[in-house]
Symmetry: C2
Subunit: 312 residues, 2 copies
């Protein structure tokens, strides 16, 4: 019965008309300018006329295009509204995220208010669990996992890489045995990260680190061991010794000055943080929005809003 125009072409046209620039529209839509050009051409073929007057100076809308624009905007506004209604009901605005407790405490939670600012209508539930979740059983929409990136039957994408570095309270830089070189570690307890997800490959334990640093006289087994990365950090903040910490987990305390990195020797981890979810969740609008935000946070690095704002 109906005779609807090509919808995606209209969407592209609306963006191009708003910016009066194919390039800008392409950016907004996250496609190449060529794709925009082709969609506009398709719509022009469909209507049998031009939408833009391509003058030497600039891009101008034809009268018909100009006239259609307000109506088009209304239409898209209504589509968005309809989408909002559909998305808002039931449990759909609750997003359940499964994260390891340390990453949750030291990385995700400190940033979460920024996501809430952006999408106040999405309620985020953090499920911090040492166990690996079963998407089929638990009602989890998205998991952030630290590992090698192989999760069969699930869609996986890299969120950020991890690296390892020694950190300690700034107080340890002064005092009887100030930390100046790796050899000074002899005078301080070592704090070990024994979290179960610990990368058992090279360079994430003190033995490996000391070897890489060329220090042989220190017993790598010395000191306390913690089963969560965040606890290692807490111990270091309390001045209990020098922790070999995950950079990501230590970041907030480093920025706050509660921790310092005494040596300029950071080694990459073989493990990284991955976003993992079942294929069906990949189309979910809330999951998409949260993933996008996570990627932005990971790219920004800092926990500080200021840095976040400056980066934009």
């Amino acid at each position: 019965m109906k005779n609807l125009p090509p919808l995606n072409a209209l969407k592209v046209f609306e963006a191009a008309a708003r910016h009066l620039s194919f390039t800008k529209a392409a950016e907004e839509l996250h496609v190449t300018p060529g794709a925009v050009s082709q969609q506009i051409k398709a719509l022009e073929d469909y209507i049998g006329g031009r939408l833009f007057r391509r003058t030497k100076r600039a891009l101008l809308l034809t009268d018909a295009a100009q006239a259609s624009l307000p109506i088009l905007r209304e239409a898209f506004d209504k589509l968005e509204e309809a989408s909002r209604i559909l998305t808002a009901r039931g449990d759909s605005k609750r997003l359940t995220i499964s994260v390891a407790p340390s990453l949750a405490a030291k990385w995700l939670v400190p940033r979460l208010d920024r996501f809430h600012e952006r999408m106040p209508e999405i309620e985020v539930w953090i499920s911090a669990d040492m166990e690996v979740v079963d998407f089929a059983v638990d009602d989890v929409d998205l998991a952030i996992r630290y590992g090698a990136g192989r999760y069969l039957g699930l869609e996986t994408e890299l969120l950020m890489e991890e690296s390892i570095l020694p950190v300690c309270s700034p107080r340890l830089l002064q005092g009887a045995h100030p930390l100046r070189s790796p050899h000074d570690l002899a005078h301080h307890p070592l704090l070990h990260d024994g979290s179960p997800d610990q990368d058992d490959m090279a360079n994430t334990n003190w033995a490996m680190w000391l070897k890489a640093a060329g220090v042989s006289e220190i017993d790598a087994k010395r000191g306390a061991k913690f089963n969560q990365s965040s606890l290692v950090i807490e111990a270091a903040v309390a001045g209990k010794g020098v922790a070999l910490a995950k950079q990501t987990i230590a970041l907030a305390d480093l920025e706050a000055g509660r921790l310092v990195a005494p040596f300029d020797l950071t080694t990459p981890s073989n493990f990284s943080y991955y976003l993992v979810h079942p294929a069906s969740k990949s189309r979910n609008a809330a999951v998409k929005a949260f993933k996008k935000w996570l990627h932005e946070e990971a790219a920004t690095g800092s926990v500080n809003s200021a840095a976040q704002i400056a980066a934009q």
Copy 2:
């Protein structure tokens, strides 16, 4: 900036919700029920909830889906309106069709009012010309050509096949030498279709026809020759002899009783009618509508509106 839902899925949902049936929606959209089911599922994944309650008895809308529906309808109405505005300007509502004069006179023009009824906003211009059009030069949107279907660089699709049969005025069935068998043709002038697009392969000229009918004693060269198929028909209607006519061109006069087919011997032509246009026109809404209508007319066969209505 914007966060639009998947537009095609919304379109499918609107149709499915309106019919409360995936199958009906599939018919309306000219796709299979499976395609509808998948689009609905995609939208359900996107919103993270269900759109339909699948009860044992029937398909019911969820509250959210129900609530979104009126807004969705408004949105699509506005999109249609925008499309109308875009299509209505300039020369876009004028469709120029290139047709051979005989087909124009005897087939297309008698039916054209039915297209006008359906799409009153599209103004159809008939360009009846013996010459084959050059789409680049003439401002032609669509051509109907009689031939073998090979037109390089242009999109081509079969409209209908042609067949050849002898026709004459009903008066020739009575009188001194009534036409009862092909042998009776000896007493009547033969009318020849010498139009330049004439199929030069077998069975479209009297010599071939007579041979096929097993008549050897008649001189196939006898009688008048016309350079347009429609003129042959006119001569036959006027009782000037027996024409070997294209079925399509003769149809209107046969239905009106001005012509009769004295023998039950119709032979297919090697040529057919093809719709031809440049690739860019294939997306044009007006061209699409006209092509669709042409196909329906070709399938219906009859010129009569009554038959047309009955067939629906």
